[in-house]
């Protein structure tokens, strides 16, 4: 599965995207966040509890309790500031 980061999260993690193989006990977006935090200090900082960020699964915004089954791409990003 591909994980992508946008805006300041990309800089903090130090990666725009990465391929990950999920352990069996990671089944939701929230569980993925907790699991990704262990990958590096940058991950832990960008995905810290209480940090303001959202998620999308296959390019649709989802809540953190969304299931990951069948997902090809998960993205994490700060609140949108377009317009």
């Amino acid at each position: 599965m591909k994980v992508r980061y946008f805006a300041w999260m990309k800089r903090t993690v130090g990666l725009a995207e990465e391929e990950v193989t999920l352990p069996a006990d990671v089944t939701t977006v929230g569980e993925l966040v907790a699991w990704l935090r262990q990958r590096s200090g940058g991950h832990a900082e960008a995905l810290a509890e209480g940090a303001a960020f959202g998620a999308a699964v296959d390019k649709r915004t989802v809540p953190f309790d969304a299931k990951l089954a069948g997902a090809q791409e998960v993205a994490f990003f700060p609140p949108f500031t377009g317009g």
Partner: protein, 156 residues
């Protein structure tokens, strides 16, 4: 219904001509053009001068989100034509960022739908602004006023 996400500038007149050509049912067009401001007001008082703005987006998701917002506007109002053009990349003060234009038989629907589209695209389309200021780069934070503006259109 048209959505475009592009790096290059757009010609407002040409976009409006394209929107209304061959549709004689349109009686009014409401148009919003967003520009890069030279000064950014933070928390209502502190101001930073901006040298440039870089807009990042999420290709694929951006277009889908804008199309969804546009379809929602067509469900809510009797619209004849809509166009949303949003730029990304490096922009300087005075540059155009976004165009939202709505054509309807009557002005009320056009005005309301145009405001709705701008409010929702600010909170639902995946764009992020990075400001280049004399003090360095700064990611623009979400604005509570934008969330309040978008919330006005949530159906109860």
């Amino acid at each position: 219904m048209t959505v475009r996400v592009q790096e290059s500038d757009f010609d407002v007149g040409a976009e409006l001509d394209r929107l209304t050509s061959s549709n004689r049912r349109i009686g009014g067009l409401a148009v919003f053009v967003g520009l890069v401001r030279e000064l950014h007001v933070r928390e209502g008082y502190h101001r930073d001068r901006i040298d440039a703005l870089t807009l990042e987006h999420y290709p694929g998701m951006t277009e889908a989100a804008l199309e969804e917002i546009e379809a929602e506007a067509h469900r809510r109002w009797p619209l004849e034509a809509t166009v949303i053009v949003h730029r990304y990349g490096r922009l300087e003060p005075g540059d155009r960022i976004v165009l939202v234009a709505v054509g309807s038989p009557h002005r009320e629907a056009a005005f309301e739908a145009c405001e709705f589209l701008v409010d929702w695209l600010k909170t639902k389309a995946p764009f992020w602004k990075l400001e280049d200021t004399p003090k360095g780069e700064k990611w623009v934070g979400a604005h509570a006023g934008d969330d309040r503006a978008a919330a006005r259109w949530v159906k109860k």
